[in-house]
Symmetry: C2
Subunit: 382 residues, 2 copies
C-alpha cells in the first residue's frame, strides 16, 4: 500500500463528501430540480469573488474562461497591457495574439511581483490601452500580484478594464471585486474550490458588461451575453457539467460553513508554515516580493534533478508535488496549500520534503523544517 497525497497546485484533493455527492445519479439539467441547485450555487459563489454581479459557470477549464474574458470585451487591434511574469501571464499574451490584439507587456523575471507603478507608467505611456491583464496569483511562480492597488489605477480610467485571472487566488485570499474595482475575475474548479477540473467561473463589472456591447470578436460557446441571459434564469446556454455543479454546491457549503475568513486564514497558516520550514532548511523562496498563499515555490540547488525528485516523491513516497514549468523545469519545486488542505497536510508536505531531499543526498537536518512549520501552526490554534 502507498497512501497518496496530492500536494500540487491543481488539481487538488477533493473532500470525500463532494466526491460522493458527485457520484449520485445524474439529473436532467432542464428541470426545476437542477435550476434550484444552480440558483443556490450562483448565490453561494458571489462572496468568494466579493461581488454582487452574476458569477457565470462554464463547462471548461480555466483557460476558456480567460479566453471568454478577452473575446467578450475587446476588439481586433485593441492595445492591451499584459503582466507577463510567468506561464499564465504568457497565456494572456498568447490569447491576445490569437485574436490579433496588440499586446504590450511588462516582462518580469519569474518570481517577481509587478508593482502598481510599473502598470501606471505603461498606462501613461499608452493612454489608449483598453485592458490590463494579470494574474492575482501566478501559479507557475507562486507569486501574488497587488490586484487591489492596480485596480485603484485602472478604475479611474473609463476606457481601461482590469481583467484578472484569479484561478489560484479566489477562495485562497479575500477577494473584493466590487470594492476594489476589478472588472473581470476568472477562476477554476480544481483549485480552492475543492473540485475536480472541468468548471470555470467568470464575473464582470457593469463597466465590463458595457464593453461586451461593443466587442465584435467572434465567439459562440463563450458568448457571455447569451450565457448571462440563461444563467439569470438559473439555466445554462449549453449543457452544463451537471455532476460537477452538484459537487460545487456541496463544496461551497463546506467553505461557507467553515466561514470564508477561516478558509483564508487556513491557507495563510499553511503557506506561512511552509515558507518558514523551507527557509529553516536553508532554501530560497522563488517568490521575491509577494508570495502567494496558493503554493510555495522553492529554488532547488544548482545541478539537483528536480524532475527526478518529483517523480520519486510521487511514485515511491506517495506525495505529489509540482516541479517547475518551461525554463524553470527541474529547477524549482512547488508545494500547494490549496483547497481541501489543512495543517497536517502541510506537516506531511514538509516532512516528505525533508526525507526526500535527504534521500537525494542533500544536507538536511531532519525535523528542522517540521519544527519551524509547527511553530507557525501552533500560533494559529485557538
Amino acid at each position: 500500500m502507498l497512501k497518496k497525497y496530492l500536494l500540487a497546485p491543481g488539481p487538488t484533493m477533493v473532500p470525500e463528501k463532494v466526491l460522493l455527492d458527485m457520484a449520485m445519479p445524474v439529473i436532467h439539467h432542464r428541470t426545476s430540480e437542477f435550476s434550484n441547485i444552480f440558483g443556490e450555487v450562483r448565490e453561494k459563489l458571489k462572496p468568494l469573488f466579493g461581488t454582487k454581479e452574476d458569477v457565470l459557470i462554464l463547462a471548461s477549464s480555466g483557460t476558456a474562461a480567460m479566453e471568454a474574458a478577452l473575446v467578450n470585451t475587446l476588439n481586433k487591434g485593441d492595445k492591451v497591457l499584459i503582466v507577463n511574469a510567468g506561464k499564465f501571464g504568457l497565456r494572456w499574451k498568447e490569447i491576445a495574439l490569437a485574436y490579433e490584439l496588440e499586446p504590450i507587456t511588462i516582462d518580469l523575471e519569474w518570481g517577481r511581483s509587478v508593482t502598481p507603478e510599473q502598470v501606471e507608467t505603461k498606462l501613461i505611456e499608452h493612454p489608449d490601452i483598453k485592458a490590463v491583464f494579470m494574474q492575482a496569483s501566478e501559479t507557475s511562480t507562486t507569486v501574488y500580484h497587488p490586484v487591489e492597488q492596480i485596480a485603484k489605477i485602472t478604475s479611474l480610467r473609463e476606457d481601461t478594464l482590469l481583467i484578472v485571472d484569479g484561478i489560484t487566488s479566489v477562495g485562497v485570499v479575500e477577494t473584493k471585486m466590487d470594492e476594489w474595482g476589478v472588472d473581470v475575475f476568472v477562476s477554476g474548479s480544481q483549485k480552492a474550490f475543492m473540485l475536480p477540473p472541468g468548471l470555470s467561473f467568470i464575473t464582470m463589472s457593469k463597466k465590463a458588461w458595457k464593453k461586451t456591447e461593443l466587442s465584435k470578436l467572434p465567439k459562440y460557446y463563450l458568448n457571455l451575453q447569451k450565457e448571462l441571459k440563461s444563467q439569470q434564469k438559473n439555466t445554462t446556454a449549453w449543457t452544463p457539467a451537471v455532476n460537477l455543479i452538484i459537487g460545487l454546491n456541496t463544496a461551497l457549503d463546506l467553505m461557507l460553513k467553515e466561514g470564508l475568513e477561516k478558509v483564508y486564514k487556513r491557507h495563510e497558516t499553511c503557506a506561512e508554515a511552509t515558507r518558514a520550514a523551507v527557509k529553516a532548511l536553508g532554501f530560497e523562496l522563488l517568490a521575491k516580493d509577494l508570495p502567494s498563499n496558493a503554493a510555495t515555490g522553492i529554488i532547488l540547488p544548482e545541478g539537483f534533478d528536480g524532475g527526478k525528485f518529483v517523480k520519486y516523491m510521487r511514485e515511491e513516497v506517495g506525495v505529489t508535488f509540482a516541479g517547475g514549468q518551461d525554463h524553470l523545469k527541474g529547477k524549482i519545486l512547488r508545494i500547494s496549500h490549496l483547497g481541501y488542505h489543512d495543517i497536517f497536510d502541510t506537516i506531511i508536505a514538509v516532512s516528505a520534503l525533508e526525507l526526500g531531499l535527504k534521500k537525494f543526498g542533500l544536507y538536511i537536518e531532519i525535523g528542522k523544517g517540521v519544527k519551524a512549520a509547527q511553530e507557525i501552526i501552533m500560533k494559529s490554534l485557538v
Copy 2:
C-alpha cells in the same frame, strides 16, 4: 420514496461503477498515471467512431466541439452548406454566422431527413461550398440523416469537407468515419457514452487536418493543432476534466466488453420496441423518414399540454422524458434509448407513457403499448 428514471435524450443514466470510479480521489494530470489512462481511453474511443485517426477529448460540452470543427477548418467568407432540420442543425448555422461564414441552408420541416439528392443539388448549384454541416442524429426531432450516402458525394470533392455532429449517433449506431469518408465527427459524453456532461470528442480525416493549415479563424482553447500535439503525447493542452476521463475509461470498458455490435443492437431493439408501442397506442412518430435509434419523438394530440405532462411525469411518477424544443415546445414528447438503457428501461418508459397519458385523460388501452414493445423485445432475446 419516488424511484427515478432518467429517460430523456441526454444527460442519460450513468452506470454505478462509472459513478464510483469518478468518486475516487483526484489524480494529477501531468503524471504517467494519468497519461497511461488517457492513452488507453484514446485507443478505446477509436472503434466507436470507426477511425484510425486521433479522437481528441475536450473539457467542454458538445457545442464547443461543434465550434472547434468549424473554427479549425474554415475561413471568414467561406460558403458552407447546412442541413437545417432541427435545433442542432440551426446551431451549425448560428456558429457559421458568428464567424462570418456564408451559410446556405437546406431547410427541412422538423421530422424530415435530408436526402443525398438534396445535398448534391446544392453542391452542384454552389461548387464553391467548402463544407457540409449536418447532424447524424438530430436530437430535437429524433431523426437520423443518411450520413454514409452523403459522404459518398462529399468525399469525391477535394475542396468540400463533411462535418458531422454525432452527439447522439456515435455509440448508438455503427459509425465508420474512415470507410464512409466523413471528415469531422464530433460527439459528447452525456449521451451513449454513459457519462455525465462535461467532455466532448472530435476526430478529423487527413483531408480535414490539411484544411487546418489554411484556417485563419481565431481560436485558442479550441485550437486543435495544439491539442493534437499534446494528445499524441497522451496529455492535454489545457487542464483535462480528470475524473470524467477516469469515468470514460470505465464506461468504454463496459461498452467494449459488451461488444459494440451488441451495444448498437440494444439501442435498435429499445428504439424499435418504443416505436412499435407508440404506434400501437395510436400515436404518430415525429420522424417521417428515418427515425433515430437515440430517441423516439411522438406527436401529442392537438391541445394536449405536453409541458405540464413532462413536469407531472418527472415530479409525480419519477420518469424524466423530454418535451419539444423551440416551436415544438409542448407539442411532442421524446423518449430516450441512449446509453445505460436496457430493455426494461424501455418497458418502464412505455408503461409510464400509458399510465400518464391515461391520467391526463387520453383514451389509452392500458397494456397495449407494453405488449407491442414486449413482442419486439422477445425477438431480440437469444
